[in-house]
Symmetry: D2
Subunit: 334 residues, 4 copies
Amino acid sequence: MKLTAAIVGASGFTGVELVKLLVNHPKIEIGGLYGSDGGERIEELYPAFRGLFEASIHPFDPERVEGDIIFLALPHSRSMEVAGKLLDRGLRVVDLSADYRLSLEHYEAFYTRHLDPGHLQEAVYGLPELWREKIEVAPLVANPGCYPTAAILSLAPFLPYIDRSMPIFIDAKSGVSGAGKRCSAKTHFCTIDENIFPYNPLRHRHSIEIKEQLEILGKEPIELHFVPHLIPINRGMLVNSFLSLTHPLDPIEVLQEFYAQEPFVRIAREPVDVKSVAGTHFCDIFAMAQGKRLFVSAAIDNLLRGAASQAVANANLMLSLEEDLGLPKLAYIP
Amino acid sequence: MKLTAAIVGASGFTGVELVKLLVNHPKIEIGGLYGSDGGERIEELYPAFRGLFEASIHPFDPERVEGDIIFLALPHSRSMEVAGKLLDRGLRVVDLSADYRLSLEHYEAFYTRHLDPGHLQEAVYGLPELWREKIEVAPLVANPGCYPTAAILSLAPFLPYIDRSMPIFIDAKSGVSGAGKRCSAKTHFCTIDENIFPYNPLRHRHSIEIKEQLEILGKEPIELHFVPHLIPINRGMLVNSFLSLTHPLDPIEVLQEFYAQEPFVRIAREPVDVKSVAGTHFCDIFAMAQGKRLFVSAAIDNLLRGAASQAVANANLMLSLEEDLGLPKLAYIP
Amino acid sequence: MKLTAAIVGASGFTGVELVKLLVNHPKIEIGGLYGSDGGERIEELYPAFRGLFEASIHPFDPERVEGDIIFLALPHSRSMEVAGKLLDRGLRVVDLSADYRLSLEHYEAFYTRHLDPGHLQEAVYGLPELWREKIEVAPLVANPGCYPTAAILSLAPFLPYIDRSMPIFIDAKSGVSGAGKRCSAKTHFCTIDENIFPYNPLRHRHSIEIKEQLEILGKEPIELHFVPHLIPINRGMLVNSFLSLTHPLDPIEVLQEFYAQEPFVRIAREPVDVKSVAGTHFCDIFAMAQGKRLFVSAAIDNLLRGAASQAVANANLMLSLEEDLGLPKLAYIP
Amino acid sequence: MKLTAAIVGASGFTGVELVKLLVNHPKIEIGGLYGSDGGERIEELYPAFRGLFEASIHPFDPERVEGDIIFLALPHSRSMEVAGKLLDRGLRVVDLSADYRLSLEHYEAFYTRHLDPGHLQEAVYGLPELWREKIEVAPLVANPGCYPTAAILSLAPFLPYIDRSMPIFIDAKSGVSGAGKRCSAKTHFCTIDENIFPYNPLRHRHSIEIKEQLEILGKEPIELHFVPHLIPINRGMLVNSFLSLTHPLDPIEVLQEFYAQEPFVRIAREPVDVKSVAGTHFCDIFAMAQGKRLFVSAAIDNLLRGAASQAVANANLMLSLEEDLGLPKLAYIP
């Protein structure tokens, strides 16, 4: 018999990816889909599910939802209204919002007042390659943001060698699905098509998430400046970092050693591209140095490794399953 | 001294194209930009105008607006609320909505109750190649829809040869700018990108406009079925017609003869593409027959020949200017 | 122990899709990859395979290749040079080229002189929904073209009701992957981007394939005119047919009855889109009538249902496996 | 009577843009189009020119070509074979290749052996905002590369304030038209679509061009690392620079002061986008500082300001015309 999962916020882009992943998962099945309103059917919202997985989306009631694992695919500030109730009922939660990713201080400085600071302290940051053992026993996993996933995975191996008197600059480019299903002037086809632009340069809230995690990992402060862009692709993101090292080194060697045991982080000797990871859980990383200056470039699928497949990897760990169950490996090529 | 034009509905995609055309027009200048609310500036809505044309968008009052020509770039049903007042004040109007394009009977069957049937009767359908002399003296020109422009220009030459016992099928593909500036699920980048789909098949309201005009021109009823699609391009449209002739003929010869004097209709011996007309007033037409079956394919820029540049051509005629003044000819290639 | 497959022509787009499908297939594994030159590695040509499936592409020798099933993903005219040798050695072959799809007469009229007319006669046209039982026992299956797959699946149910005195017009739109991996002016990004154009209108060679198959199925001649287009998407195609019926009918009912037992053909009451099938083996069909005129619209993934997944379905049948093993169902949405 | 221009290399993307610009130029007309082979017609290569500008492309003979100005739109290393002959005949030349942009030392280190070092010394680097007076009297202007144009224009104002002990990192993104008309795996639609990737990171040859020019302007060495990308758009590029200043400052103020008299450089308080400059000669620049760290972002049309319209601006200056004659200002919006 399979374990069961509830997906809360099933109609959004991340929710839909969770549905797709669990439809194929060998040991977890979907117990129920939930949304704020309910009343819709997933195969009507997304005809791609017709004949494959058809189900109602129910109104979400945190007092009644059940499952071996609860995925919260809600906007930030909505998760912290309900996660506590789920945890108090003994349920285990993977939260895909930003609500449990940051220290209280940073959350309140960059987002809003936190409604559930107690559970915030217990939450584990869900990057399996870095925090696997803590994730396995956590009742609440804060699933990382998409930009932070790519940035942290590609920079963590270099933390011992970073010249901390110098800034790290990150120039990141995201597919539009990262902006979510809601229509806006920014996501109108005519705005995005044949265009590229930075948004929230130096002020995007993922900046603090990257910095905080890298400081926890490296145990020393770093200076980091982050500029994200929207580009005319649906999914996938490329996160480039430019920084200075304390001494020249072979960056490919550093990466290969750090991720020697990690099947879902691939180190490339040629520049990585987004299409080779779109549709998968892989994080592909390329790096190249010129003297003490380092260029690191990481590609992930923003909706999968940057959200849904990472959430499933975390759930697998929390449920004592093999970490790679149900994680997609075949890219949307050609 | 230049003539002056007022652009009502200046912030929409069609309005913006009118602004771009008149900025470069040798004999007409922009007298004022108007919108329902007003209070915005065109160069703030569209930074492309910075340093080039900067102006406030004023609240539109049909009792006070002035100009040698008034362009109404309003949604349908909004135009007929105000066009009458403008006409009664002696102003000349090019209306880019659907409000004055159809017979009363068809308008009310396909749109809504008409509020200004008096002026509807006087309106001239603004396809210069077909109704040039009437346009020159019309106080009110109904600027054709985008699909009808391409369909009518490409089918009109064949009217004497069409087998009327057989249907005409039209399969049309439009860039997303045709759906306007308003955001919706249909215009979300993630809906359009890597996708194509028909919308309102057999029921789109441009169908009756094409049929009515072709019947006026050909003086006999035709049977016509129309299916439009959205495709992942910003601007441009391709309108394909499939029909039967009373006898075999050389369609290129028919087209060349019909448009021998028309510089803005180009007859092609190879299939036409949208990119060669995007950014211009040209309508490119290709045709090919197999026995009595005919395939005709027309490409236009939906926002220019399908809206704004056709409106300027009409205004030129109404103001006794040369028809081609200010009409763009350089495509957005490569 | 798994059955083995050889993939000949593994480096092309169709070959790569076959690799992707067989990597995940529960009962068939890849015995070897072959190409004309050999010497390349699949994960170097397509870095998406790194860490997932790494293998050399060997030079293809029809006298030595082994496998329970041989997939020939070669250009037309290359297949017929080698298929005979494979069949004579007792191997079973799915040929993805056009070489064994047509009658000798039509092949030689539309392609070139046939080099293997003997086996041509024995080949079974591999549309599982229509020829399942013949496929099961065939030594050689001719895998259908992409346009024909969508056209035949969507028109076959209407064959009893088609007015044969009237033409069928087909307007089809394909993603660029259908044009293959080879670079040309037609597949240059700048040619395709923001563009749409017909190619080989009324003369494309898939036209005769559609006509021949529909005449075999319907046992009466039909008149058919076919116009394909390239559109700026990578994969997926939409095939629209316009035709006349002998009498009015409910087309959805006809389709639903015809495909009642077929899980991979989905009948839709709303217009279908390409994105809901891209990445899958599904064929989605929508139809709508106006009196005796019928509009039918079918969407498939050109590289999967139009090539590789259909080939795997055929191989499953030939190897007495369940037809749906390894066929992809999850679309590339959102 | 108009001045005449010869366009050598008229069939490439840059050549076509030159044709488009000169078709509309009030004081320069096209004297002749030239290509290596000749024998083609511009309106057959680009049907967009039909009915607008139709002309043969002649074989290019440097001993016989005439004109008040000669535009060389040739690949690098081809220009230096012929530019000398033109100059020796007293003709004035705008060279759009890389052949006359760099010092001899850098050219030979990054490209190949120089065949015309004599004229190399006399060539003026054609960035009008920076070298206007020298351009006016130059017989040979080396038209800047696309990336260098955006990088130099956006960094030059900050040269007095740059902390030269720290590196400048440049992350640039280009539309595919920058890769030229020739088809290759890199420019295949299926490679570019839904993708982004760096190419020649840290090693692209525009890197030395940017560095050399900034060092000439700033009179001190700088350390610069450059990573360009291809993105799925046709035209336009965004060039982001990240650097450190000697002290905090208001970057908008610095930019506004530097370009106070320059109509074609627009300083923006909001992040710039590519679509607002595509189709124009504008360079839009945004900048933002965090303490001593500076982010600068510049958008241009790679084929216009990055090539053809800059060449026309240079020609205007060389011919004592007003600099802005024939320069396009209307962006390809919406």
